[in-house]
């Protein structure tokens, strides 16, 4: 490393004609980005194109992929299991995104008040992000058991045994709940950083003008944390689109497929049934969903760049 840096100063010496000097600097810039471009070409865009191509084939890893046209797509479009998984994924994304955002914002507002020990609450809450997801799933599977802690804590309020994980109408809600528990404290930190950055005199001025608590929140806090709000919504939607482990471990996709999401269907189709072509066509649907939120993220980013 040292030898390399010692050898460099010659390049930067000024006698070079300005154009060539700038070109040299530029070349360094390209050089810094190049490994990443190569990586993404190989592990992101290459696989993307391959997945598109595979989705038009039938391939079981024996022999070579056989082109079948749109067969995979027409087949999955008529497959109730796919329709159900697609619906589940969309419901999950919507539920998780909405509740992560609301809970994260609520926690951030609570924690960012000038309350004694607010940093301690924040660090405490953030611990939900330190636990590995596997551990999260295993623990919550016990907590949501009919005799588990959640029902034990609800029983004084008159709730009878609730079958969180085996009642088809509750299972997805339970998974969303675990997701919110896990991710809301993370996004809380994003909100806190933005809320703390709002100058205190904004609020004082509003207070003097007689603005109530809600009015101050609505007209000062919300507009000023808008970029973070969009960021949290889009990123939690992208996160939720990828969900696999929580339904896989907590409910196994059940009851009756009520929590089976697209990534589980891709895994089962490709790696349990070895239908790689069909699995690729299902992942195209997952891709389409992720693309919507990525485009939103890019527009958000571009707007931020213009500021």
């Amino acid at each position: 490393m040292q030898a390399q840096t010692d050898a460099l100063p010659r390049r930067a010496a000024l006698p070079w004609p300005p154009v060539s000097y700038r070109t040299r600097i530029r070349a360094w810039g390209v050089g810094f980005v190049l490994p990443t471009i190569a990586f993404f070409a190989f592990f992101k865009y290459g696989p993307m194109l391959w997945a598109f191509w595979l989705s038009f084939t039938s391939y079981d890893m024996m022999g070579t992929p056989r082109l079948v046209g749109f067969d995979n797509f027409t087949s999955i479009a008529h497959d109730p299991m796919f329709i159900q998984a697609l619906g589940n994924t969309l419901v999950y994304i919507a539920g998780a995104t909405i509740f992560i955002t609301l809970v994260a914002l609520g926690l951030a507002l609570a924690v960012s008040q000038r309350v004694p020990g607010s940093r301690a609450y924040m660090s405490g809450m953030f611990l939900t992000n330190v636990m590995p997801i596997v551990a999260v799933c295993l623990v919550w599977r016990f907590l949501l058991h009919p005799h588990g802690l959640v029902n034990q804590m609800l029983s004084p309020f008159g709730f009878r045994r609730i079958d969180w994980l085996t009642d088809p109408s509750l299972a997805m809600g339970a998974i969303v709940g675990v997701t919110v528990w896990r991710f809301a404290p993370y996004f809380m930190v994003v909100f806190v950083a933005a809320i703390v950055a709002i100058p205190a005199d904004f609020y004082e001025a509003a207070e003097i003008d007689g603005a109530a608590r809600w009015g101050r929140f609505r007209h000062i806090t919300i507009p000023l944390i808008m970029p973070q709000l969009f960021f949290v919504i889009v990123v939690s939607a992208l996160l939720s689109a990828r969900i696999f482990l929580m339904p896989f471990l907590i409910t196994g996709g059940g009851p009756g497929g009520a929590t089976r999401v697209l990534s589980m269907l891709v895994y089962e189709t490709g790696f349990s049934y070895m239908k790689m072509g069909r699995a690729a066509s299902i992942s195209v649907a997952l891709f389409a969903i992720a693309m919507v939120f990525t485009v939103l993220q890019m527009r958000l980013f571009m707007r931020g760049e213009e500021d």
Partner: protein, 279 residues
């Protein structure tokens, strides 16, 4: 109106302490449950009440769990993979972030958007072809097969780029005039000022890789390369393994991430606000 404010201001914060403390406790209750359960005796699990502090402690759950399956090896495998992913992200994301923040070259804008658009291509989407690539490379059941597709992450690049953008370009120009090369600028000026961003990057790269489940599940079929999440799930599926020992492994798996957070916390304080794409 204005006169009333000070006393209210002094009272109000303390009134908020009990509910906030209760809320925090409620949120970390599952973690406390995990800890407490890992020290219980196996048959206590199926009681109708939760015994928060074990009447009889069973620390032997830990050595028992570790000896029942090859967990020391699984943890080692996870550590190797996660450290590789962490180092890869630190190197590549810093390089790319620096290149994108401080250099103009033809197509730089396009590269930026191309990197951002990989957010729509997580491993869950490219699972089948990425598996086929690793298969073709002969990397099934190898460490590099598990970590290679995770070595760079778009979020990490943006974290570094947004952070480096804030470093005044004048510093770089001054260094160039002093004859420092481009790599020297990165190493001596950029990196020392980016410690907090690199700390955030390191933590999350490690954590995300430590959490990986689906990808190792697909590329690993042999015990020698199984990571601890695969081992733990299989351990739970095997009949007769007490859940308390499962929790012991879960506690052990939490420790490395926890320690990393504690170690890097002083950097994180400043770096965290930047974890958003918009700096």
């Amino acid at each position: 109106m204005v006169r009333r404010l000070p006393s209210v201001r002094r009272m109000l914060p303390w009134l908020a302490v009990p509910p906030l403390a209760a809320l925090t406790l409620l949120l970390i209750l599952p973690i406390i449950w995990m800890l407490s359960t890992s020290f219980q005796s196996g048959d206590k699990m199926y009681q109708l009440t939760t015994e928060w502090i074990p009447k009889v402690w069973h620390p032997e759950n830990y050595p028992n769990a570790l000896s029942r399956a090859a967990f020391p090896l699984f943890f080692l495998n996870s550590a190797v993979v996660s450290i590789a992913v962490m180092v890869g992200n630190i190197i590549f994301c810093t390089l790319a972030g620096y290149g994108l923040a401080k250099y103009r070259f033809p197509g730089d804008r396009f590269v930026l958007l191309a990197i951002l658009s990989t957010l729509m291509l997580p491993l869950e989407v490219t699972l089948v072809p990425t598996f086929l690539i690793i298969h073709k490379l002969g990397w099934l059941n190898t460490y590099q097969g598990i970590f290679a597709p995770l070595l760079v992450d778009a979020f990490g690049i943006f974290l570094m780029r947004q952070f480096i953008l804030k470093i005044p370009t004048d510093y770089l120009e001054a260094a160039r005039i002093d004859g420092v090369g481009e790599f020297g600028i990165l190493w001596r000026i950029i990196v020392p000022q980016c410690k907090s961003a690199i700390a955030v990057l390191a933590i999350f790269a490690f954590r995300d890789s430590w959490d990986q489940f689906l990808w190792p599940l697909v590329v690993v079929s042999r015990d020698d390369f199984r990571t601890y999440p695969l081992g733990l799930v299989r351990f739970g599926e095997d009949y007769g393994n007490p859940p308390t020992e499962q929790m012991a492994i879960a506690v052990l798996a939490t420790i490395p991430v926890f320690v990393l957070f504690i170690l890097l916390q002083r950097f994180v304080k400043t770096g965290f606000g930047l974890s958003g794409l918009k700096g």
